[in-house]
């Protein structure tokens, strides 16, 4: 369930994320471009085989930070709408854990905004993932 205010939509959910839903949310007759970033669970990390990831969130603060982040996109770029959805709980290989969608009149803004947004999300939103390797599991810090 997305929290929506003006042109910002944010969500943290246990359910599968839906790219089409995010695209619909940011659709705008004045938009000529919609860029999206989808973080998906990869089957390997540092040479070890990953089976699944388990995401934990400090939900109230994470939602607040997602909204702040989405509003900041609107301040930095001339965009139409911003949607950010993040998964909680188990995310299997190939499934999306985060989807960021940004619409804008011209392509440059949405392409740049999406790039900034995922970097900012990883830096400020209180969410953690636990990687389940074939040989046991560890918490992973954001070395990226």
């Amino acid at each position: 369930m997305f929290i929506s205010e003006e042109n910002v939509f944010v969500e943290i959910t246990e359910n599968d994320l839906d790219i089409c839903k995010c695209m619909e949310l940011v659709a705008d007759p004045g938009a000529g471009a919609i860029s999206t970033f989808n973080g998906v669970t990869r089957n390997n990390f540092q040479g070890k085989t990953v089976i699944k990831l388990d995401y934990e969130a400090y939900v109230p603060m994470a939602l607040k930070k997602l909204q702040e982040l989405a509003h900041e996109v609107g301040r930095r770029w001339n965009v139409c709408k911003v949607a950010v959805a993040h998964r909680k709980g188990i995310v299997l290989v190939g499934e999306p854990s985060v989807i960021i969608a940004v619409s804008s009149a011209h392509r440059r803004e949405s392409l740049e905004a999406v790039q900034w947004a995922i970097d900012e999300l990883k830096a400020v939103v209180p969410i953690w993932k636990k990687e389940f390797f074939e040989d046991g599991s560890i918490w992973k810090e954001n070395e990226e």
Binding site: M61, A62, K122, A123, W128
Partner: protein
């Protein structure tokens, strides 16, 4: 004053619980709270080195000695790995 502390990720695993109320003398700050948390959970000493706090959902470094008040919610925030 009572401070509600939330444990996340690594800190929850080491402490073995997700929430605990700490009693802090009036005028106490985030550094005082840090010491109480570590004395209650010695295993956290190392973990806390790479953690920050979120006081009422705003990031604070414990060493900033941010003053606390009755009913504040303080979350232990290990390095993030969202996205």
């Amino acid at each position: 004053m009572r401070i509600k502390v939330l444990f996340f990720a690594k800190s929850r695993e080491v402490a073995g619980l997700s929430e605990q109320v700490f009693e802090l003398a009036d005028g106490g700050n985030t550094e005082d709270l840090l010491h109480q948390i570590i004395s209650a959970h010695p295993g956290l000493e190392n973990v806390m080195k790479s953690c920050v706090f979120a006081v009422n959902q705003e990031y604070v470094r414990p060493c900033d000695k941010e003053p606390l008040k009755e009913g504040d919610e303080v979350a232990i925030i290990p390095p993030l790995s969202g996205g």
